[in-house]
C-alpha cells in the first residue's frame, strides 16, 4: 500500500515491532487475544529469512523459561500469552525479575476486560508491580510497534525483563503502522556474572537487593518516557489520569474541542509519582481511567481511602467491571448520552456452538449415555477448549471448567472424596499444557477414575494451532504409568456411538486409572488443510 504503511492488528504490530527490533526468538502458548502475535511471526518472511525462532510452546511457563534462556545467551526474545497464561508462567516470570535479563526480554501479556473469551478479567499490571519490573501499555497500535524497540532497550539498559501489556481491543484492532529501519539481531554473549541466574538463597538475597535498588531507576525511566505525557489544561476542577488505551476513550469525547482539563497519559510503569503529584496538586478532583482493574486508582486511594477527590471505578463514576468504551467515558465526564436506536424485541443471541460434525459431539453423547443417564448429573469434570460448550444445551454434559488441566486433578480430588464415578474430559492440547502432571498424580495412587482425552489433533478453540500432543498421546500415557490395557482409543462418530458407550462402561468397571482417547480431527482444521492441499496441487 501507499506510504509504506502496514495495516496491522495490535498483535501483529507487536510481532512486526519485535522483528524490526532484532528479536531472535518468539515463545508462546495460544490464547485469545494474544494468539495473532505468534501467528504473524510464523507467517513472516522476514522472520524466516532471519531464522528467528518461532514455535508454540507446551504452555506459558515453558515459553517464559525458554525466552529467559535465550536472553541468558544474549539475544532479544519475547514470550507471549493471554492474561491467565501469566498465572501459569508466574513462577518463571516473578523469579526472572531477580535473575534479571541479559539479551532484551519482553513478556507480552494480553488482558481481556469483559471476558470476551476468558474465565476472568485479571489485570496483568498487578503482576508487573508484584514482580517489580518496568511495564509498558500501548494506547494505540503504533505505540505497540514502537514499544518493542523501547522495551528491548529498557530491558538491556537495566538488565531486567519488561512486561508489555495489551488488552483485547488493541490486540484485535487494525490501524496503519509506520515502520522503522530494522535492526540486526544480537550475537551470543553470556552474562558477565555466571552466577546471576543461580537463585540459591545466598545469591537470591543479593539479587533481590539489586532489584530493589533498581526501582528508582525504573521510575525515572517512566518519568522521562515519551509514552507518559502531561497535558496542561485550564479547567482544573478535574484532572484526568488515562492509562493505556483508556486515553483514547477520554480523547474521543474531546476530539474537536481539545481536552480542557489537565491530563496525564500513562503508558509506562512504575507509576511516575512526580507527574501524579503535579496533577493532584493542581486539580480539585482526579478521574482515573483504566481498562481493566482499578490498579492506579487503588494506589491513589490508599488503604484508608480518606481522600474523596479520587474518582473512577471504585467510586462508581465508571463501572467496577468490564471493558471501557467512549460512551462510558462520556457519562463519567458529565456529557449527555448520544441518542441512538434501541434493539427491537425478539432479537435473540446466537451463542457459539460446536460445529456440525465435530467429534466432541460424539464424545458428549457417549458420556451422557454412559454416565449421566446411569448415575445422574454431577460426575464429569471438564477443562478449557471447544468441548467446554458441552456445558450448554443440548448436551449439559460437564460440571466444571476452571483452569487448564484442572479437569483431571479435580476428578481425582472428588474420587479421593469417594465420588463414583469420577470422570475428566480434557482436550489434547490442554492435556500436554498441564494435564500430564495431573494424570501422574492419579497414576501414583491408582485413583479410581476415568480420563477422556479428546484428541482432535489441534488446539481448536484458539483457531487451530498445532498441538504438541499430536501422535504422542498413547505413549505419553504409557510413559506416565497408565496400564496399557486401560488406555483405549477409538474414532468417535455417530456410527461408533455404541462401541464408545461400551468402552466407557468397561473402564468405569475397572478400579483404577483409565484413559479413553477418542481421536478424530477437528472439522475446521481438516477443511482448511484439504483446501490448502488443493491449492498446492494446482
Amino acid at each position: 500500500m501507499k506510504n509504506n504503511t502496514l495495516l496491522l492488528l495490535g498483535d501483529e504490530a507487536v510481532a512486526q515491532g519485535a522483528l524490526d527490533a532484532g528479536i531472535s526468538g518468539f515463545y508462546a502458548y495460544p490464547g485469545t487475544p494474544s494468539t495473532e502475535i505468534m501467528e504473524y511471526a510464523l507467517n513472516s518472511r522476514q522472520a524466516a529469512e532471519g531464522k528467528v525462532h518461532r514455535m508454540w510452546s507446551a504452555n506459558e511457563k515453558t515459553a517464559v523459561e525458554a525466552a529467559l534462556g535465550m536472553s541468558y545467551a544474549g539475544k532479544r526474545t519475547m514470550a507471549m500469552m493471554k492474561h491467565v497464561g501469566l498465572n501459569v508462567a508466574a513462577d518463571a516470570f516473578v523469579n526472572s525479575a531477580l535473575t534479571g535479563a541479559n539479551g532484551g526480554l519482553i513478556v507480552t501479556v494480553a488482558d481481556d476486560p469483559s471476558m470476551h473469551s476468558s474465565q476472568n478479567e485479571q489485570d496483568s499490571r498487578f503482576f508487573g508491580k508484584f514482580a517489580m519490573i518496568p511495564m509498558l501499555e500501548p494506547s494505540n497500535q503504533q505505540e505497540a510497534y514502537e514499544m518493542c524497540f523501547s522495551a528491548f532497550e529498557l530491558s538491556e539498559r537495566h538488565e531486567t525483563p519488561v512486561l508489555l501489556r495489551l488488552t483485547t481491543r488493541i490486540a484485535h484492532s487494525r490501524a496503519g503502522i509506520t515502520r522503522r529501519e530494522p535492526l540486526a539481531q544480537h550475537g551470543i554473549t553470556l552474562p558477565q556474572d555466571k552466577r546471576q541466574f543461580v537463585l540459591l538463597p545466598a545469591i537470591a538475597r543479593k539479587r533481590y537487593k539489586v532489584l530493589l535498588s533498581r526501582q528508582e531507576a525504573f521510575e525515572q525511566e517512566a518519568l522521562d518516557s515519551p509514552y507518559n505525557r502531561y497535558f496542561d489544561g485550564d479547567d482544573k476542577r478535574l484532572g484526568i489520569i488515562a492509562c493505556g488505551i483508556a486515553y483514547n476513550y477520554v480523547m474521543e469525547n474531546y476530539q474537536d474541542s481539545g481536552c480542557p482539563h489537565p491530563q496525564l497519559k500513562l503508558s509506562q510503569y512504575p507509576v511516575p509519582r512526580k507527574l501524579i503529584e503535579r496533577l493532584v496538586n493542581e486539580c480539585d478532583r482526579i478521574l482515573v481511567v483504566e481498562d481493566g482493574m482499578p490498579v492506579v486508582e487503588e494506589m491513589l486511594r490508599g488503604l484508608l481511602d480518606r481522600d474523596l477527590r479520587v474518582l473512577g471505578r471504585i467510586s462508581g463514576e465508571l463501572p467496577r467491571d468490564g471493558e471501557l468504551n467512549p460512551a462510558l467515558l462520556r457519562q463519567a465526564l458529565g456529557f449527555e448520552a448520544q441518542p441512538g436506536g434501541t434493539v427491537p424485541d425478539g432479537i435473540v443471541p446466537r451463542p457459539p456452538a460446536l460445529c456440525a460434525g465435530c467429534s466432541h459431539i460424539d464424545s458428549m453423547n457417549a458420556i451422557n449415555e454412559a454416565i449421566r443417564e446411569v448415575y445422574g448429573d454431577g460426575h464429569v469434570f471438564s477443562d478449557i477448549g471447544c468441548y467446554t460448550l458441552g456445558a450448554l444445551p443440548p448436551y449439559n454434559s460437564i460440571n466444571s471448567c476452571v483452569d487448564m488441566g484442572a479437569s483431571i486433578t479435580m476428578a481425582k480430588g472428588a474420587a479421593d472424596a469417594g465420588l463414583y464415578p469420577s470422570a475428566a474430559i480434557i482436550g489434547d492440547s490442554t492435556f500436554t499444557h498441564s494435564g500430564m502432571t495431573a494424570l501422574l498424580d492419579a497414576v501414583v495412587e491408582n485413583t479410581n477414575m476415568l480420563v477422556c482425552i479428546l484428541d482432535n489433533s489441534t488446539t481448536a478453540m484458539t483457531g487451530g494451532q498445532d498441538s504438541h500432543a499430536h501422535g504422542r498421546l498413547v505413549q505419553i500415557c504409557e510413559g506416565l504409568g497408565v496400564h496399557p490395557d486401560h488406555i483405549r482409543t477409538l474414532r468417535p462418530t455417530p456410527k461408533t456411538h455404541d462401541e464408545f458407550v461400551e468402552i466407557i462402561k468397561e473402564e468405569l468397571a475397572y478400579e483404577g486409572v483409565s484413559v479413553i482417547i477418542p481421536q478424530r480431527e477437528c472439522v475446521q482444521t481438516k477443511t482448511r488443510r484439504t483446501k490448502l492441499a488443493k491449492q498446492g496441487a494446482q
Binding site: 496503519g176 474521543e252 468504551n325 441512538g340 432479537i347 457459539p352
Partner: protein
C-alpha cells in the same frame, strides 16, 4: 471527514472481506483508519461485528461511540438490528435480507424486515439473490459493498481497486465477476433510494 461503520454478520459469513475492501479504498485515498474486529469464541456461528472508522484526521477510540455510527452494514437481517443503539439518527442501515438461520428461535423473517424498514434511512437488499444472478454465488459481500458505496464518501474507483487487490490472487476472471457484482449492488441501492424516498 469522519466515517464510522458497524459491519455485522454471523461468524463465517466473511464480513472482514468487506472491511478489507473499504479499508483499502480509505488508505489509498490517504485517509486514516481503525478497525476493531472480533476474534475467538464468537467466530464459530456466533454474532460478529467489526467497527470500521475512517477519517482525515487522527482517530482515537477503536470503538465507535453509541449513537454515532454513520452506517450499519450487515450481511444478515437480524444482525443488522442488534447494533441499532450504535446508529446515529441520521445514519443508514444497509442490510442483506437473506437470513442466516443457525438457531432454533430465529424470529419470523417478516417481522425482522419490518423492523429494518422502520429505520428512517435504510436499504434492504437480497444480496444473495443478486450475487447468484451474477453467477457469483459467493459474491454476496461485494453486493453489500456496492449497495453501501452509494452512501459512503469513498470514490467508487478506489473501491474497485480494493476488489482488484483482494481477489487478484484468484485471477482476472474472479476480479471481473466481483466488480460486476459490486455494480449490481450499487444499482439496486440507487433504485431503492429512488422508490423508497
Amino acid at each position: 471527514m469522519r466515517l464510522d461503520i458497524i459491519l455485522a454478520g454471523v461468524g463465517g459469513q466473511g464480513i472482514l472481506s468487506i472491511a478489507t475492501v473499504l479499508g483499502y479504498a480509505a488508505l489509498e485515498s490517504g485517509l486514516q483508519l481503525k478497525q476493531a474486529e472480533v476474534h475467538g469464541m464468537s467466530q464459530r456461528g456466533g454474532e460478529v461485528q467489526s467497527h470500521l472508522r475512517i477519517a482525515d484526521r487522527p482517530i482515537y477510540s477503536d470503538l465507535i461511540p453509541a449513537g454515532s455510527a454513520d452506517m450499519i452494514l450487515s450481511v444478515e437481517p437480524m444482525e443488522s438490528l442488534r447494533y441499532l443503539p450504535f446508529l446515529s439518527p441520521e445514519g443508514w442501515l444497509v442490510t442483506n435480507t437473506t437470513p442466516f438461520r443457525n438457531i432454533d428461535n430465529y424470529p419470523e423473517l417478516d417481522r425482522v424486515i419490518g423492523e429494518v424498514k422502520k429505520v428512517r434511512h435504510h436499504v434492504a437488499i437480497d444480496a444473495d439473490a443478486i450475487a447468484r444472478e451474477h453467477n457469483n454465488a459467493r459474491g454476496m459481500n461485494m453486493v453489500m459493498v456496492g449497495a453501501a458505496s452509494l452512501f459512503l464518501p469513498l470514490e467508487l474507483e478506489r473501491l474497485k481497486e480494493g476488489i482488484g487487490y483482494i481477489f487478484a490472487r484468484k485471477g482476472e476472471d474472479v476480479v471481473e465477476r466481483n466488480l460486476a457484482t459490486l455494480e449490481a449492488g450499487r444499482s439496486f441501492a440507487e433504485e431503492y433510494r429512488a422508490t423508497a424516498l
